[in-house]
Amino acid sequence: MRKKILLVEDEKNLCLLYKEELKEAGYSVTAVLDAESALERIKKESFDLIITDIRMPGKNGIDLITQIMALRKDVPIIINTAYQSYKHDFMTWAADAYVVKSSSMSELKAKIKELIG
């Protein structure tokens, strides 16, 4: 059975790209454009991995991580952002990996493989 990934990314084209690439790599991908919708999905169904951007309209990715932790959901999280600097934010340590966005998705794919196979 394919592993289920929840992708939280507000840039529509980027979202499409990730979705295609991760499907190609053998995962089942659910994509949402903001943190609120992500929380709704997480409450309803279970995922093997969550990939989230940080800077998004509305709730940001760090708020999302905090709320996922509050829900006591034991799910690995990868932060995927355009910024290096959020690494200094204490809450990003709660994530299992921190990947800076890159058009070569090898690092992201490698982290996914490491975390959920």
Partner: protein, 451 residues
């Protein structure tokens, strides 16, 4: 009953002592937008401002890193020169402006051979047993040297340059730092240096030390602010451009796959083209923001300004059930500003209000006189208000609540209003609406300039 006095005195009471006048001139110089060196020159000139009080010549050393370096040397080269300089400086009513002007012309004239001679002199501050003059700075003490030619502690090269038999060294200190040193002598009049002169010099030394320290802190602050702004901008550009670059790169990679279906190939090319347009838009807007330069200010009819703004937003207004009302008080004729940029700013504010309002609401664009010389233009909406989280930061660049926003609109408006000599205020309450108030210099109707 009250009496008012000016800080910037130009003429002093007869009984005011020369020393008090000197301190007044020094204090006044700090109110002027002069450079560090200009203000230090005022202090040195004040110390050498006449034959009756203070000294004949003053030399300034400034600390640069771990060295004490000769900066300039002020004073007449001969008795004739001294007479002519002191005649100028003892003119009744002479103030800081004349002193600055005099010093500038003096330092740039050929007579300024003294400064050239000390520019090449420097002493290390970390030395274990420093010679005079560095000794005063290192030991943080005022040192009076008599019979200088026979004093073994005086550096010979310095003594040969100075040539005076008696001089006093005043260190310039602030907190725990050595900032420089002033050396004073009476080489022309050959008068002995009195205790009273040293007292005067020591106070000037304290003022100068503090002044150097403050201006260094100020410069550091400006540098830090600039660095922070550059950092913020670099981070912003990185983020804004990284998303489209990653998208372009990712979809381009897919194109390299020889098995890619024709439809997907076309779609990818389309996405790549759109993303590149997006990047161009980002760079264009950033460039526009960085290049804001307000041109000459002219008297602008507020009614015409409002007309242009409402026309510019009319198509956006037509899409919604929004009412835009304009009101101009009768007494108000013109405001002083750059019409192009102020028009664009008002358009920005109305645009923001339209975005905030959603499908329906009201925007009021009004102008009235605020006082004799000032007018206020208000842009008011009854929208949801500015979220309290970003309220304090709305005029900072790159802060936006809009998904596609670059956060350059309000910083642009503020830059324009500031450049026109006005100011901007905002009042906003969540759920009740937002009012921006722009203050400009104004003219009442009766004095209207024919257009």
């Amino acid at each position: 009953m009250i009496e008012r006095y000016q800080f910037l005195l130009r003429e002093f009471h007869q009984e005011t002592s020369k020393e008090l006048q000197i301190f007044s001139i020094i204090a006044q110089s700090f109110f002027q937008p002069f450079s560090l060196i200009d203000n230090l020159l005022v202090i040195l000139t004040a110390l050498t401002a006449g034959p009756g009080v203070g000294f004949n010549r003053a030399m300034l050393f400034l600390a640069a890193g771990d060295k004490l370096k000769g900066e300039f040397w002020l004073g007449p080269g001969s008795a004739d020169e001294a007479a002519s300089i002191w005649r100028v400086l003892s003119t009744p009513g002479i103030g800081y402006l004349e002193i600055i002007a005099h010093n500038k012309s003096f330092l740039s004239s050929e007579a300024d051979t003294l400064t050239k001679r000390i520019k090449s002199i420097s002493y290390p501050l970390g030395e274990a047993s420093p010679m005079i003059p560095a000794l005063a700075a290192v030991s943080r003490e005022i040192i009076l040297v008599k019979d200088a030619w026979h004093e073994p502690l005086v550096d010979r090269r310095f003594q040969e340059t100075l040539g005076a038999d008696e001089f006093v060294c005043i260190p310039l200190l602030a907190e725990q730092e050595v900032l420089g040193e002033i050396i004073l002598d009476n080489a022309i009049t050959k008068l002995p240096i009195k205790n009273r002169d040293i007292e005067l010099a020591s106070i000037c030394g304290l003022i100068a030390g503090n002044y150097i320290y403050t201006s260094r802190l100020q410069r550091r602050l400006v540098d830090m602010k600039r660095a922070a702004a550059i950092g913020e901008m670099a981070m912003f550009v990185t983020h804004q451009l990284r998303n489209p670059i990653v998208t372009v790169g990712g979809f381009a990679d897919q194109l390299l796959d020889p098995k890619i279906p024709e439809a997907k190939k076309k779609r990818n090319i389309q996405i790549i083209r759109n993303e590149i347009r997006e990047m161009e838009r980002i760079l264009l807007r950033l460039g526009q923001f960085l290049r804001v330069q307000v041109k000459e200010q002219v008297a602008v009819d507020v009614r015409e300004l409002f007309k242009l703004v409402t026309e510019a937003v009319s198509s956006k207004v037509a899409d919604k059930a929004v009412l835009v009302k304009t009101e101009v008080e009768d007494g108000l004729a013109t405001i002083s500003c750059d019409p192009l940029h102020v028009g664009e700013s008002l358009r920005n504010l109305v645009d923001n209000a339209l975005d905030a309002l959603g499908p329906a609401g009201q925007i009021r664009l009004s102008a009235r006189r605020d006082s004799e010389d000032w007018a206020v233009i208000s842009v008011q909406d009854d929208g949801p208000g500015i979220p309290s989280l970003v309220k304090g930061k709305i005029f900072e660049a790159f802060v936006s609540t809009k998904e596609q926003g670059m956060g350059l609109g309000l910083p642009y408006v503020k830059r324009v209003v500031d450049a026109c000599g006005g100011r901007i205020e905002v009042e906003s309450e969540e759920g009740k609406g937002t009012t921006f108030r722009l203050y400009f210099k104004a003219k009442p109707r009766e004095r209207e300039i024919p257009r």
